[in-house]
Symmetry: C2
C-alpha cells in the first residue's frame, strides 16, 4: 500500500496538471488512470486534432498538450498508475483509502477527482443475452489478444477506422471474417477499404452491408448464429465463433457514483469557492465537476485544480500557513 | 468614437486573452492599455523571467507568453489602444461609454476590467510641494524627452539600473549630473557603474552617496536648491534645474476607483459565478478581481475571463442562445 498527500482520479489534461500543481505546493501525488495511457479524451478521442483555446498556446495538438503537461509535472515525480480504475473509496484511520481494479491501494490525505466525462466505455448494441456472451469472450469491443481469433469465424461490425483496421489486422488470422455495417458508405480511410476489397476477392472477408445485426443466438456464452437483417426486411443467418463491435466510445461515471458523493446529472457537485464535494477532503475539477455557471473548458478545469489544491493545503499540511508565491519569484520547488 | 461589443481595460496577459476569448464568442473587442505596450507586469517588470505554472507551458519567459497570447488573439483583429488610460466610464444610451486620457471614446455593450494590480505608477519620495514641481516638469519619474535635459544641471536619485542607465544616457547632454543614492552599494550592472565612474573622473557626474534628499526648495515650480543629508547628520545643498527620481514602480487603482464599482482592499468585488461587478455589464477578471477564495494566479485570471465573457454573451447578443462548443470541433470562428 502507498501513502501519499493527494490522490488524483483521472489522467486527462486536468488530472496531469493537478500532479504539477500538487508538486508546486509541496504535495506528493498518486494518479489513477483507468485506461492504458495518460491524456484522457485528448489522447483517446482526438489526439491529432488541434486545440486553439488553451491560453498561451495558439494552436496545439491534443496529444502535444498532454505531453507538455506530463513534462511540466515531471520535476515532481508524480506516481502514475494506468489501467487502474478506482473501484473503492473509503475513510480509514483519518485517510482516504483508494482501491483500484488492478488491486492497487493508496492512502491519501485528500482526493481530487478529475475524471472528465467519466470512464470511456464502448457503445453496445441493444441485444438480448449480450452480457453472457461478453463474459465468455464471444462478444468483445476491443481485441486483447489476436491469438484468440486464430482460425475462428469472426463477425466484425462497425463502419469507422477501428472496425476496418481490425478487419485487416485479423485477416489471414481468422478463418473467415464477416464485415457488417448498417450503411453503404464507410467512414474509414480509403486504403483500408481497398485492402478489405482485395481480401473479399480472396474469400477471406465477406462484406455484408447495408445490414444490421438483429440478434445473436447460442447457449452458455457460446455463439451458434448471428441473425442479420437487410433494408428490404429480408434476413440471413451467419455461423461465427466470435463477434467484435466497434460502435465508438461513450462516457460513463462508473464506480464514482457509489461513494456517497452528491451528483447532478452524472456530474459531481462542488462548491465553486473551494471545488470541494459534499465529502470533506474530496475535491473535483474539470468536466466532471458541476456548479452553477460552470464552463466545460479545459482552462476552467486547470483553474479549478489550483482552487482545489490550495484549499486542500490545510488538510495535507495541518497548521502550516501557506504563502502564495509565483513561480517567477521562487522557481520550481524541489520535488 | 468607436462602437464595439466588449471593451477591455488593461492589456496584461489576462486582458489579451480576453481579446481572444471575445473573438471565440464572435464578439468585437477594443482593449485599453495605459502604458505604451501590451503585456502588463509580465512585460514591464519581469519580461525575461521564466514562468513555470502556465498549464501546458513547462517554462515560458513572461514576454514570450505575452507574444503567444497576442498571436492567439490576432485572427480576431482586436483593436489595441496603448497609452490610453481609461479615465471616465459612464452609462449612455444603453451602452457603456469609455473615455481615455488620449481622448479616445469607445461605446461598448459590456466592459471587462483586467487591470491586474492597477496602474503601474512610480514610487515618490515624501517631500513637500512635490506636485508643484511635477506640474512644471522640474521633478519627473521618467524621461519623456532627452532634449529637456540639455545643458541643465540635473539630480538623479536611485540605486538601480533605471537610475544608473539614465545617468549614463544624459551624461554629456546635461551640463552636470548629481547622482544621489541612499546606500553605498548600487543594485545596477557593473558596466553601468564603471561608465559612471569614468564620467565622474571627467567631472560630468558627481556621486553623492550614501545620502538622502531632505527637501527641495523653489517657487512657482522652479527649483532653487536641493537639500541633501548624510548619515553623520551633516547637510549639503546643490543647485540644480531638474530632479529625476527612480525609486521603482508600485501599483495603484487609478480612476477605476471612482466609477461606483464596489471595492475590497483596492480590488474589484465580483460574483465568482459570473465575474460580474455590482454594475450590470461591468466584469472583472485576473488579479484585480476579488471574491472569497480568489487566487492571484494568471491561470485563474484566464478562467475568469471565460466565465465573464460567456456570461456577457446575453448582453452582447440579446435573445441569441449560446451553444458552448470546443475549438477542436469548430476550429476558429472567422474574425
Amino acid at each position: 500500500m502507498f501513502s501519499t498527500d493527494i490522490a488524483i482520479i483521472g489522467g486527462g489534461p486536468v488530472g496531469i496538471f493537478a500532479a504539477f500543481q500538487a508538486g508546486m505546493l509541496g504535495m506528493k501525488a498518486h494518479l489513477f488512470e483507468s485506461s492504458n495511457a495518460l491524456g484522457g479524451q485528448c489522447a483517446a478521442l482526438y489526439a491529432e486534432k488541434p486545440i486553439y483555446d488553451i491560453p498561451g498556446l495558439p494552436e496545439v495538438k491534443a496529444i502535444d498538450l498532454v505531453q507538455n503537461l506530463i513534462k511540466q509535472a515531471s520535476p515532481f515525480k508524480p506516481q502514475y498508475h494506468t489501467l487502474a480504475e478506482v473501484i473503492h473509496l473509503s475513510r480509514q484511520e483519518g485517510r482516504w483509502l483508494l482501491e483500484s481494479s488492478s488491486h492497487l491501494k493508496v492512502a491519501a490525505k485528500a482526493v481530487l477527482i478529475t475524471a472528465g466525462g467519466g470512464l470511456l466505455v464502448p457503445n453496445k448494441p441493444p441485444l438480448e443475452k449480450i452480457s453472457e456472451f461478453e463474459l465468455s469472450g464471444s462478444i468483445a469491443y476491443k481485441v486483447d489478444s489476436i491469438e484468440e481469433y486464430r482460425d475462428k469465424d469472426v463477425l466484425i461490425a462497425g463502419g469507422r477506422d477501428s472496425a476496418a483496421d481490425w478487419v485487416n489486422s485479423l485477416c489471414g488470422i481468422a478463418r473467415k471474417i464477416f464485415f457488417v455495417h448498417r450503411r453503404e458508405k464507410f467512414k474509414c480511410t480509403l486504403s483500408s477499404l481497398e485492402k478489405i476489397t482485395e481480401a473479399c476477392e480472396k474469400g477471406l472477408v465477406e462484406m455484408i452491408c447495408p445490414a444490421q445485426i438483429l440478434g445473436i443466438e447460442g447457449e452458455n456464452g457460446v455463439i451458434e448464429k448471428v441473425k442479420i437483417g437487410f433494408p428490404d426486411k429480408s434476413e440471413r443467418e451467419v455461423l461465427v465463433d466470435k463477434v467484435l463491435f466497434f460502435f465508438g466510445l461513450k462516457t460513463a461515471l462508473g464506480p464514482i457514483g457509489s461513494w456517497g458523493i452528491k451528483l447532478h446529472s452524472g456530474r459531481i457537485i462542488v462548491e465553486q469557492e473551494t471545488c470541494q464535494t459534499n465529502l470533506s477532503g474530496i475535491y473535483a475539477a474539470g468536466d466532471i465537476a458541476f456548479y452553477p455557471g460552470k464552463l466545460k473548458l479545459i482552462l476552467s478545469g486547470f483553474s479549478e485544480v489550483a482552487t482545489a489544491l490550495h484549499h486542500a493545503y490545510s488538510e495535507v499540511f495541518p497548521g502550516q500557513a501557506m504563502h502564495l508565491q509565483h513561480s517567477t519569484d521562487k522557481g520550481l520547488p524541489s520535488a
